[in-house]
């Protein structure tokens, strides 16, 4: 198959911490600052314990950890843990900011362990998959396969049959010697 333009496709791939079920970044941390919450499985960094050794960032195969150059501690996606449990927010707003912000609703949020949740249904029915499953990290965040958008354009749609001015044709052009608008108007 030809792989030269225009037979190519561009893919933008947003990625943050996948909150692995078996996160390799956690056991390597010498201080216990990296941890996985038993109650909901969110992987977090305790900024008061982290010594900024960066070892966990080597161990994350997805490359989603990042040292904060000012606070000198390791940071990563927290799944907006402060938002999703914030009882002062209306129920439907208790979601990660990225999920709320995405204008096309490309992101879903829910409990992957609940077989009836919106995300479990989407994963099950739309062929959701994990990234780099070969390492056994079992990411909680899944991706849904791309859906290709194709528009079929028929040739007769390219020309307007009822166009009296024949706009698609070359426009009339005055001769170079004829006066132009600049010559007859004073601005």
């Amino acid at each position: 198959m030809k792989t030269e333009f225009p037979n190519t496709e561009t893919l933008h791939f947003p990625k943050s911490c996948l909150h692995c079920e078996d996160p390799p970044c956690v056991p390597v941390c010498p201080t216990g600052a990296s941890y996985k919450r038993p109650e909901d499985g969110i992987v977090l960094v305790d900024y008061d314990k982290c010594i900024g050794c960066k070892y966990c960032s080597w161990a994350c195969p997805y490359g989603v950890r990042e040292i904060d150059e000012h606070q000198k501690v390791m940071k990563k996606c927290t799944l907006c843990v402060d938002r999703i449990y914030d009882a002062t927010l209306p129920e439907e707003r208790r979601k990660p900011a990225c999920v709320l912000a995405c204008p096309t609703n490309a992101r879903l949020f829910g409990d992957v362990h609940d077989p009836d949740s919106e995300v479990s249904v989407a994963i099950r029915e739309n062929g959701g998959y994990a990234l780099m499953p070969e390492w056994g990290t079992k990411p909680a965040n899944h991706y849904l396969p791309r859906r290709k958008q194709r528009i079929k354009i028929h040739t007769d749609e390219l020309v307007r049959a009822d166009n009296p001015l024949k706009k698609e044709r070359a426009q009339p052009k005055p001769d170079i010697k004829e006066p132009s608008l600049d010559d007859v108007t004073s601005w």
């Binding site: 390597v28 201080t31 982290c50 990042e66 000198k72 070969e134």
Partner: protein, 300 residues
């Protein structure tokens, strides 16, 4: 990878410290069974204090790559799962053992101070030293496993990583011991020198083995599995960070192509033939015939 200089100093310095201590203890064992002559008294305690200085130097260096060195004590917490944590525990244990070893030699203590008479001079230092030897090898294991346990970095995830750390530490420590002996106890120079050559040749073999292994690694992850798109031709065109990011800084060495291409060969020349030639020149320059080392062992 773009390793911090402090980490390079840490591994290099503690490697020399461990190797030097192991060299001293080996010499002591040889001397006890009278394969080597008795060295002057300060040979052991001064030598182990130098080994201790290397270990302390490594420890100090390691603090410089931490974002919060004042919290470094916390890093001993997760020894059940983290090799880094285990290293943090074993390093001070080794330092303690080396310090006690130096003290025992300085005051020339025997088990008699504890009321046990084995009739063997230096029995206490042999026992303390054996503990130190165990810690030294444990430390090599921890340092190597810090890298070898990350299975996604397939270049590191092999037992060869641990072996290489151990042998490099031994080679550098014995090399230092050779130089040290040349000043303090010349009759040991040849003994240490030969062992340095053996260790250097051994690590040459294992390092070449890992270079060959790494050259043939079959990648478990591909661009396809990374994004879950099953297509034969997937090319990464951008990293998503025009101005650079932690990932582009931490995981890219940033060296020019010429340096990158030559580093392996520079390493192979500087680390193996150069020390071997220098040590051979040094041993011959002292005007001692090749058989003399054996001669010392026979007459003593």
């Amino acid at each position: 990878m773009h390793p911090a200089f402090s980490v390079l100093f840490l591994t290099t310095l503690i490697g020399v410290g461990q190797g030097l201590f192991l060299a001293l203890y080996t010499a002591e064992v040889y001397a006890v069974v009278e394969l080597l002559p008795k060295p002057p008294a300060h040979f052991y305690w001064a030598g182990s204090l130098i080994a201790l200085a290397f270990l302390v130097g490594g420890l100090v260096a390691s603090f410089f790559h931490l974002g919060h060195p004042e919290r470094a004590w916390r890093s001993a917490a997760r020894w059940r799962t983290s090799w880094l944590s285990r290293e943090v525990i074993v390093l001070p244990l080794l330092m303690g053992a080396v310090f006690v070893y130096a003290t025992v030699h300085y005051f020339d203590l025997d088990l008699r101070v504890l009321g046990i008479d084995t009739g063997l001079h230096g029995d206490l230092s042999l026992i303390v030293g054996a503990g130190g030897v165990a810690f030294a090898f444990l430390l090599f294991l921890c340092t190597g496993m810090i890298y070898a346990c990350i299975k996604f970095l397939q270049e590191w995830a092999t037992w060869l990583t641990v072996v290489n750390y151990t042998l490099f530490g031994l080679a550098s420590g014995w090399l230092f011991a050779t130089a040290f002996a040349a000043y303090v106890a010349p009759e040991f120079t040849r003994f240490f020198g030969y062992w340095t050559v053996i260790a250097t040749l051994a690590v040459f073999v294992t390092r070449i083995a890992s270079l060959i292994r790494n050259g043939r690694i079959k990648r478990k992850s591909t661009l396809q599995t990374a994004i879950g798109v099953r297509h034969r031709t997937v090319t990464q065109k951008a990293q998503g960070f025009l101005g650079g990011s932690f990932n582009t800084r931490e995981f890219f060495h940033g060296a020019p192509v010429s340096v990158f291409r030559s580093i392996k060969w520079v390493f192979l020349v500087l680390v193996f033939p150069v020390p071997l030639i220098l040590i051979w020149a040094g041993l011959s320059w002292r005007g001692v015939g090749l058989g003399e080392g054996l001669y010392y062992q026979v007459v003593s």
